[in-house]
Point group: C2
Chain length 257, copies 2
DNA sequence: ATTCTTTGTGTCACTGCGACACAATGATAA
DNA sequence: TTATCATTGTGTCGCAGTGACACAAAGAAT
């Protein structure tokens, strides 16, 4: 169906075309200035902060819906998405705080019955290149912006739990899959990659051991170039070897069993 | 609400109390005779084999619903469950093949509209002690029984994909979490535990190296007893140290980063 | 009594680990 | 111009863990 473009004018959105009782919430991770950042929205009526999310059209898969929703929030066409958990506590959305915002935005409810009742949410995390994102609020929110992970305050509903679960999933995942592609620019330094790992793991890594280990994964290609305009010894630039990187995602890293 | 007991007589089941568009499918793993087994149902009308599953009441979480469904199929009260993926291809249930069986079983459809349309399925895998399971078919099926994982044939809808994804999830999980509790009896031998790992990984492990590694996890307690009635040297019996086992599940095994 | 199979314990050479050193490089300050 | 500082690339060290495998014990079968 036609893309719903962000617009200043009120537009009619009907819930009828969405699957009832199902929503999705996205934890969008970016990386900038050696900080892991999360994209959040500020709701119009309540001013609370929330993770981006939305609903699923009747002819969409969850992944397609999440891609569509995030294209609208970030402007990006291809986003690395990964489902990580279904949040289904019946208490989590007894009274949907977004309803006033939706009414304000002109949403009509052909059948209020399902939307004002509970719904489950499929949690996705997305990894995006910070510099390529053009944050766009939706009809329900005043702002869409990046917040440093360590500065996240109180979010709407169970969004703090959703964010925490996403982070735990990312952390656990580093034990068997690499990370970095989709988050870092095409060319990056080992120092930048290491700081990405450090912000996810929440601890400092020895730069020499990190280098030996990550090079042992055989997923990086060292470029002839070095980073320009830096204050000290210029570090080498690297890029991901996508064939090996994707294989490492599919098959997991070697080891353990 | 009242438990829906299996019964020979037709009973009225109404879809009205379930969340629309949402189902769950369970891959129930058991382990017996050194084989990983999966619990499957045989549908009445079509005679196809399917994974157990069901729907979610309006006041249940996904986990509670899955526990309820599996209590009915296995007779077990406490089952280790883990969500692993949401299956949401719009094509996956355009025409629900279970509808004829449901009609045969006396199910009425207050609002056919959602059930004959598509729905997403939350995939769970369950780990159960084979010997404690009392397989029970539901109203839609003739049989509920174990099949060796390596003998699984064609399953209904996308259930082969669901099963494959569950197995991949289990395999990947062995790189950062242990397995065995819930699947093995309270007392077991290292040989039995190793064969469990081998059937999940699909490859043979050296029994000496396996022993050294698994003991290094510090999740096992060696008992004073040995297995009786065996043909050769009696192996020592072990049990899981639940404190350490659960910590290993929560925090992951040491290593990598 | 011998053979077979399984188990418990252990060894070996090798690899990877955590902790860290040293030299190179470029900017900054004296 | 020289010295200092901070960062990076490469490497070492002692130790721990690995894959491959040996040997002895134990009990059943022949």
């Amino acid at each position: 169906m036609e893309a719903e473009q962000a617009s200043n004018e009120k537009r009619i959105i009907t819930m009828k075309d969405f699957l009832s009782h199902i929503s999705l919430d996205c934890v969008v991770f970016g990386f900038h200035s050696n900080q892991l950042k999360v994209l959040v929205l500020q709701m119009k009526t309540t001013s609370t902060w929330a993770l981006p999310g939305g609903f699923v059209y009747e002819d969409e898969s969850m992944e397609v819906a999440a891609s569509r929703v995030l294209k609208e929030r970030t402007g990006l066409n291809e986003i690395f998405l990964h489902q990580f958990h279904v949040f289904s506590d019946p208490q989590r959305s007894k009274q949907n705080p977004a309803v006033p915002d939706m009414i304000l935005a002109g949403v009509t409810f052909p059948e209020k019955s399902w939307f004002e009742k509970r719904f489950i949410s499929v949690g996705f995390y997305a990894l995006v290149e910070f510099s390529q994102v053009n944050p766009q609020p939706d009809e329900l929110s005043d702002a869409c912006e990046w917040i440093n992970l360590e500065n996240i305050g109180i979010l709407m509903l169970d969004h703090n739990e959703i964010l925490q679960k996403a982070l735990e999933t990312l952390r656990m995942q580093l034990t068997f899959q690499p990370i970095g592609y989709n988050l870092l620019p095409e060319k990056f330094t080992l120092s930048e990659l290491r700081k990405l790992y450090e912000t996810i793991l929440g601890k400092e890594l020895d730069r020499r051991n990190f280098q030996r280990k990550i090079l042992a994964y055989d997923i990086l290609t060292r470029l002839e170039e070095v980073r320009q305009g830096v204050a000290h010894k210029a570090p080498a630039l690297y890029k991901f070897n996508l064939v090996n990187y994707k294989r490492a995602l599919d098959e997991g890293l070697q080891g353990r069993w």
